[in-house]
């Protein structure tokens, strides 16, 4: 066993290594475990967008994109294994879709020189590019989400929240705890009372939290959940007859998989999003022609157009644009990981560019710089229509409260810099 094992694994890794000339953008996915319902559509969207680029345009700048997949099961130990396995293939950028794995990778990627792109998740203060050189979290982060949700509530309540109560139901992990500090600051500013209700992973058991909500009768519930916790929470909210239009989930708590199990009861549930929904975009014509009809769709091919599928495709789109930018800056199509980072830093996706890409008004413009790795943090609200079985966008893009967020981000990134002994760049 001792002697045979190394030989087999060595052979395995050698055979798995792709040709060196291609652009390697790994897909760290999870299609198994308690988070699979959310992991599958995202992974499919991510892979399909690159398949489209390869089939329609012959890759990016003439270079094919390879998307090797690695199963993490949303587990940090498997995440480490995936990272080490992928590292040897010289990836350009990683998108682990797990805040826990992101926290683990942030110190490592700095040393190994690999870009980490964490759209809408990960460490919020990574927005401060002067400290987090290799991490990008545009277009929006958890704190933006919390602020946009509170802004929407303010809008609903006529601009005054004094004396009202907001409950935060959150996944008791790094991900769920992220917005607490922001919401505490916002509660001071707007005078609402915040109650925090943690739910332990994976979140199948949350009766007591919802009984507490029934007793306390908060005016609004904000939720940061993921995986099976979403479905259970929405069902529990229906069970206690909580008004669904006062129940707002973060963008990770707003996919079809989360609301459908609750049936008609989920009517009116709101969730944040940082991109458009549905299949009413010209991009889908191309996807249909080059990917679905050609039988090249990832996974089972049944996730098309869902919220998380769109989000996976959007993440791939931003990465593809950053690769194109990097190729332009470097003057070569065969970019390396360091040039990839420069491409991200110079990224500028305008509204016109989104129209060209076949996704008009899908996402807000993204413009990054050395200091700003997180974009503008715009988010919008979508609402579930149970009868039609679809999400409808009910607001335009809402800007987060920079007055509250910027000092918090500065504080957290400075704390990281002093802990890790980093000197801020960008001067």
């Amino acid at each position: 066993m001792k002697l045979k094992f190394p030989a087999i694994v060595a052979a395995a890794t050698m055979l798995a290594a792709p040709a060196m000339a291609d652009l390697i953008v790994p897909n760290m996915s999870y299609r198994t475990g308690p988070y699979a319902a959310n992991g599958i559509p995202y992974a499919d969207g991510f892979a399909d967008y690159f398949t489209l680029l390869n089939e329609r345009d012959g890759g990016i700048g003439g270079q094919k994109v390879q998307v090797p997949e690695c199963e993490t099961a949303y587990n940090t130990e498997k995440g480490v294994e995936c990272y080490e396995a992928l590292k040897s293939q010289n990836p350009l950028v990683l998108n682990p879709l797990s805040t826990g794995i992101t926290y683990q990778l942030i110190p490592k990627i700095g040393v190994d020189g690999i870009t980490l792109y964490t759209p809408g998740y990960g460490r919020t203060s990574a927005k401060d590019g002067s400290v987090f050189e290799w991490v990008f979290n545009a277009p929006a982060n958890y704190w933006d989400g919390a602020s946009v949700a509170v802004k929407h509530i303010l809008d609903q309540e006529g601009g005054d929240l004094t004396g009202s109560k907001i409950a935060l139901v959150y996944h008791n992990s790094a991900y769920g705890k992220e917005p607490i500090r922001t919401l505490q600051e916002l509660s001071k500013k707007h005078g609402f009372e915040l109650s925090e209700l943690p739910v332990d992973a994976p979140g199948q058991e949350q009766k007591s939290q919802w009984l507490q909500i029934r007793r306390d009768k908060p005016d609004y519930v904000i939720m940061y959940a993921w995986g099976v916790m979403n479905q259970v929470a929405i069902q529990e909210a229906v069970n206690i007859r909580f008004p669904m239009d006062k129940f707002i989930g973060i963008w990770w708590s707003g996919s079809e998989n989360d609301v459908k199990p609750a049936g008609a009861g989920a009517e009116g549930y709101k969730a944040l999003t940082f991109h458009g929904v549905g299949q009413e975009y010209p991009l889908y014509d191309d996807l249909k022609q080059y990917v679905y009809d050609a039988g090249k769709a990832a996974g089972a091919g049944d996730q098309t157009g869902t919220v998380l599928y769109s989000r996976g495709a959007y993440a791939a789109l931003v990465i593809a644009e950053a690769i194109a930018k990097a190729q332009e800056l470097a003057g070569t199509a065969e970019i390396n990981a360091a040039q990839m980072r420069d491409g991200f830093e110079a990224l500028d996706i305008t509204a016109e560019r989104m129209v060209e890409l076949g996704l008009p008004d899908f996402g807000a413009p993204i413009q990054l710089s050395c200091e700003n790795h997180g974009g503008d943090g715009l988010g919008r609200i979508q609402q579930w229509d149970a009868a039609a079985g679809q999400w409808n966008l009910i607001t335009d893009f809402i800007e987060p409260d920079a007055e509250i967020l910027d000092p918090l981000i500065k504080e957290d990134s400075q704390a990281y810099a002093s802990e890790a002994g980093l000197t801020p760049r960008c001067n």
Binding site: V9, E71, V111, S173, A201
Partner: protein, 358 residues
């Protein structure tokens, strides 16, 4: 023919009762140790260290710890994950509070802190046994995880409740944090695993180990012949938690680098280590290593085989991998209920007689 006692003359009691009485086996052991310490560090790469050998060695330490408690002293524990969390959070607090002290000392101190916590949670074992004790240790598991989630002091008030291991060096070489090289991480874990195995082997052969086994086999009889159950049980909890705490400290500081208590040290971890000793063999040091190897290496091997070699989709491979590992566990336990260690010793028995079995 080669593996035999004949011709290997023992002229002292010391020689006669050594751990590896047969020459071939003894040389095999020296060869493995020499290979592990002197050859592997020069050929190891990041993947082999971070994905295969470091987790294997750390889980072997945890399995030895639990084996002392469950396999040798007969006290069933489901609190392994919680005790590993104590080790991890202790080492984190120590690392950040005393950055100038060596991490190696902190790991040992974290083990001692865990030993104290372990003794506290071992107190119920004086009154309750078997499944009831398992439930009491389960309470420790949930309480400790809850505590580290609830009290921000333990994670230095970080926004997300994550703890991140800063870089620490030993003789100028980084052994924790992102800059730690593969050989450094491997050698730290290997040294701890070697020392722990050596200590455990000698403890279990001496008077303490005999007391533990007496308590395990029949506690009333043990008490009558003069074994103090209080001391025997609590010392088993202390030594076991000491090892498990060091495993938790290494898991966080050297292997993962960042951890979050619910995810890294949940109830799943307790079960994983318990399965390791059941599959490896209760009451066996070799079994602890074999069990850890089985449950850590086999999934990685299968993954590389199915996804890397055969090119299967990752989700299918992940599901099949669970099924294969599950089926193998069942098969092994049916073929040999006493675990891989028993299988190994049966093989050795047969080898001694080979090629003339009668």
């Amino acid at each position: 023919m080669l593996y035999r006692e004949a011709g290997d003359f023992k002229t002292s009691y010391r020689d006669d009762s050594q751990t590896f009485p047969i020459k071939l086996e003894r040389w095999g052991y020296y060869a493995v140790v020499a290979l592990a310490f002197a050859v592997v560090p020069f050929v190891i790469n990041d993947y082999w260290a971070s994905a295969v050998l470091v987790p294997f060695l750390i889980y072997a330490i945890a399995a030895i710890g639990l084996n002392i408690l469950t396999g040798y002293a007969g006290q069933v524990s489901l609190g392994t994950g919680g005790f590993m969390a104590v080790g991890a959070y202790s080492v984190y607090k120590l690392m950040t509070a005393f950055p100038d002290v060596s991490l190696l000392i902190h790991v040992v101190l974290a083990g001692i802190i865990t030993a104290i916590v372990g003794v506290l949670f071992g107190l119920p074992s004086l009154r309750i046994k078997g499944f009831y004790l398992a439930v009491a240790t389960l309470a420790a598991q949930f309480f400790l995880v809850w505590l580290f989630n609830k009290v921000p002091w333990f994670y230095n008030y970080s926004a997300s409740g994550q703890i991140t291991a800063p870089t620490r060096t030993f003789m100028g070489e980084a052994i924790s944090g992102p800059a730690a090289s593969a050989p450094a991480k491997y050698l730290v874990c290997l040294s701890f695993a070697f020392l722990v195995a050596w200590m455990a082997r000698n403890l279990t052969r001496g008077s303490i180990g005999r007391k533990w086994m007496a308590i395990r086999d029949m506690d009333i009889a043990a008490e009558i012949i003069g074994v103090n159950p209080l001391r025997a049980k609590l010392s088993a909890f202390a030594v076991s938690s000491f090892f498990i705490g060091m495993a938790g400290a290494l898991l966080f500081a050297v292997y993962l680098g960042a951890a979050e208590v619910g995810e890294a040290f949940g109830i799943n971890k307790s079960f994983l280590v318990l399965f390791m000793i059941i599959i490896g063999g209760l009451g066996s040091i070799f079994g602890s290593f074999a069990g850890a190897a089985f449950l850590v290496l086999l999934p990685v091997l299968l993954k590389n085989l199915l996804v890397g070699n055969l090119g299967w989709p990752t989700d299918l491979a992940a599901h099949i991998e669970l099924m294969i590992v599950g089926a193998l566990i069942v098969t092994f336990l049916i073929v040999e209920p006493h675990g891989l260690a028993r299988l190994w010793s049966l093989t050795k028995e047969k080898l001694r007689l080979w090629p003339f079995p009668h």
